[in-house]
């Protein structure tokens, strides 16, 4: 049974995608994840210049989720292009994630990367880095303008990754659609923090981090559900997906594909195959021919 999905002009062999920020810096790691069963992989967010990110500790394991404050480390555009070329040579479906502090930088990155990726994902929602993430991604007109300009600078589809701001999500998602996005990824991590009560200080060196994993799922799921009511472009669900049941919830809420990140820490790289076989089994047992027939079904009243 085929579980391939299409996101506008993109076709993926299955709906599972490696989320940006996880195992996405080196070519060998991206290739390994694709070979372990992902339908596509997203690179770590790329900036023009190399960025070291925050010092450790960069992650807190809460038990019910993680708070990470990596701070968008990446070796910069030139070095990343060298890695992405290797990935593409292996016929891997590859999305390049980019972040920048102004429209010109976004355009520059999109223009330089467009030949090396199948799609670009705009990271407009990193909660930890001042001036490049959430500050942009919470303002609809900025989302629209950046999306529009990046679309002009790129030959490949543009996916916009948004923050889990449930009350604002429709405005933000519509702004991305109006700007010309081919899809939206809902959602990035939620701004969060952890304080050490002994030293009376924040644990993360970046003070704030992004909440991911199980704790994020209900928030992101609500964003997908909300946005599905107003959007025409496809939604990629992301946030706390650990099983095929989690993936199915997102699909029923309106997602055509899903991204996986945090779950890799405990479930391993076999999670992509496990989710795919779980979905296949579900489709078979319920006599459903394709995933598309399930997308958004939870909206029926």
């Amino acid at each position: 049974m085929s579980i391939n999905v299409s996101l506008g002009s993109l076709t993926l062999r299955n709906p599972t995608i490696l989320a940006s920020g996880v195992l996405g810096t080196t070519a060998s790691s991206l290739i390994r994840v694709y070979r372990s069963g992902a339908g596509a992989v997203v690179s770590k967010s790329i900036s023009i210049k190399p960025n070291e990110g925050y010092k450790t500790p960069v992650i807190v394991d809460l038990g019910y989720g993680y708070i990470n404050s990596m701070g968008l480390p990446n070796p910069g555009l030139d070095e990343m292009i060298a890695e992405l070329k290797i990935v593409r040579d292996k016929k891997v479906k590859l999305f390049g994630s980019i972040f920048a502090s102004d429209i010109d930088e976004f355009k520059y990155l999109a223009n330089k990367l467009t030949d090396y990726v199948d799609a670009l994902e705009l990271n407009l929602s990193c909660p930890t880095k001042v001036g490049v993430g959430l500050e942009i991604g919470k303002i609809p007109w900025m989302v629209e303008e950046i999306t529009r300009e990046v679309c002009k600078a790129s030959k490949v589809p543009i996916i916009v990754k948004l923050p889990p701001l449930v009350t604002l999500i429709n405005d933000l998602a519509l702004a991305a659609e109006d700007g010309g996005a081919s899809a939206v990824t809902l959602t990035n991590t939620a701004k969060a923090m952890k304080i050490d009560i002994f030293s009376k200080k924040p644990v993360l060196q970046g003070v704030y981090g992004g909440l991911s994993g199980k704790a994020l799922k209900p928030l992101s799921l609500a964003c997908v559900f909300e946005a599905y009511e107003v959007l025409s472009i496809p939604i990629i669900g992301c946030g706390g997906i650990y099983s095929w049941e989690d993936a199915l919830e997102y699909i029923l809420a309106g997602a055509k594909a899903i991204q996986i990140g945090s779950a890799i820490a405990t479930e391993g790289l076999s999670i992509f195959k496990k989710i795919c076989s779980g979905i296949k089994k579900y489709l078979r047992e319920n006599n459903i021919n394709r995933i598309d027939d399930l997308v958004g079904l939870a909206h029926r009243r």
Binding site: V22, T26, S28, G53, K55, I59, P75, E79, F198, I264
Partner: protein, 267 residues
């Protein structure tokens, strides 16, 4: 397993040299430790770093720490009854396959630390142990007396102040034809590991070696410790790898990746 940064009281400190100390921590809950695994160690206002475990008895763990940077120097200022924050243990440690009866242990510098825990375990399984320990000088030679309890110990120092003058890989090579072992276990500087991979491959010997790369998250998510060309993570798939994997890792001895992920060549 301790999953998040937790302050644990230091109950003893042993000073090995001006640069190296072992901190003993009393845990509240029992954990399981395989020799070669590591803990993420942190104190507020410093960085969180991976440290291999050199001692373990169920509720007490020993972490041997060399003062080589800002964070480790701050840790060295701690006293008994102060606290170290730890999480872990993480990673895959040394494996002792069934049927192994004689092993070599090869350690260089503070890479000797996790091998002490391995020697203790192997000895309890009645496995014959021959150890090769290398250090800059006699003062920096770690756990010499402890390793002697487990079997013959051959020593090398860079300055010749104890044992053979030169590096420990050369010392191993001198004995490779006369001593037979089922398996070599190694931890130490990358140059040592590279020589041992070559030696093991050329002499048809089996090897498990612990590798070092920049570890940030420690749980296999961030990708800072990924190895080319297989994309294996030192923190999750390693830090100990078997020879059949080691020979494929073409970045070993050639380059590592910096905080940004940029390749940096070994000198």
């Amino acid at each position: 397993m301790i999953t998040s940064q937790k302050p644990i009281e230091i109950i003893n400190i042993i000073t090995h040299s001006s640069r190296i100390k072992t901190f003993y921590l009393k845990l509240k809950d029992k954990i399981r430790v395989v020799p070669g695994q590591f803990m993420m160690v942190w104190i507020p206002d410093a960085e969180e770093i991976p440290i291999s475990i050199s001692y373990f008895n169920g509720l007490t763990i020993g972490l041997t720490i060399a003062a080589v940077g800002e964070t480790t120097r701050k840790i060295h200022e701690l006293k008994i009854h102060d606290y170290l924050y730890v999480r872990g243990p993480y990673g895959n440690g040394f494996k002792i396959p069934k049927g192994v009866s004689k092993i070599w242990i090869v350690g260089g510098g503070y890479g000797i630390a996790p091998l002490l825990l391995l020697a203790k375990k192997a000895s309890s399984m009645n496995i014959e142990i021959v150890s090769f320990l290398g250090a800059r000088s006699r003062d920096e030679l770690l756990f010499y007396d402890q390793f002697k309890l487990f079997g013959p110990v051959f020593v090398s120092t860079d300055d010749g102040s104890e044992g053979f003058q030169g590096d420990v890989a050369t010392l191993v090579e001198k004995y490779v034809d006369s001593l037979k072992a089922d398996l070599i276990y190694a931890c130490g500087p990358e140059a040592l590991i590279v020589k041992l991979i070559r030696l093991a491959y050329n002499h048809n010997l089996n090897l498990q070696a612990s590798l070092e790369r920049l570890i940030k998250c420690g749980i296999g998510l961030c990708g800072s410790c990924c190895l080319d060309p297989l994309g294996l993570r030192v923190c999750k798939d390693g830090p100990v790898f078997p020879l059949r994997i080691l020979i494929k890792l073409n970045e070993i001895g050639s380059y590592y990746r910096s905080f940004s992920g940029m390749k940096v060549n070994f000198k």
